[in-house]
Symmetry: C2
């Protein structure tokens, strides 16, 4: 019998612009679950779902929805920016994202994407 | 520097009534996140939140809310049954639960609680 865990999960910690940032990525068959936190909290929970469109696969579209926490425009923007590449690489699986950021600058988001990449479970 | 992961996460696999059951528990400062799956899916996402009541701490009350997936009475019942002890042991932290069950019998739920206990991160 295999003793390795059946649910694939990876995590990493990196200091981004002086702020300790933790990432944990877990693979489920129907979702990639990612938490990106600078507070230790699970934060605002957002689902990022690729739209199924026939005839135009060149322009991927995503729907973001806040499931838990404050529904702010910036959250939707960050969520899309951080996870659309994950969804695409994971065979268009939706992403469930917990987001608790102190720093949402473009530069920080870019560095966070690299940390997510380092926790690839898909 | 500590090399141990900053986000505590444990998982287990057990065959319950002939069905492979996977549990993963992850601790965040404001939530305990648990997925209990017999499909490999994250399943229905439910928040289980202790009500704050003054004057009557002898009767703990919990509010369950389906954040993602089908909102069925049985889901609320199972979610409460499976996680109120976690919330209480974790200093009344709310629980975020992903639930994808083939078998929701009382006997199975009881066995699942033991698997959750074996993944204690709180």
């Amino acid at each position: 019998m295999a003793t390795q865990p059946l649910i694939r999960s990876k995590q990493a910690e990196k200091t981004i612009n002086g702020i300790s940032t933790q990432v944990i990525c877990t693979e489920f068959s129907n979702y990639i679950f990612i938490v990106l936190t600078q507070y230790g909290k699970i934060g605002t929970l957002v689902s990022v779902t690729p739209d199924s469109r026939s005839g135009d696969i060149s322009i991927p579209m995503f729907t973001t929805k806040v499931l838990l926490g404050k529904d702010e425009v910036l959250t939707h923007v960050c969520a899309k920016n951080l996870t659309t590449f994950v969804s695409q690489e994971a065979g268009n699986r939706p992403v469930l994202l917990g987001l608790a950021l102190k720093d949402s600058s473009i530069e920080a988001i870019k560095a966070m994407k690299d940390v997510i990449k380092s926790c690839q479970v898909w």
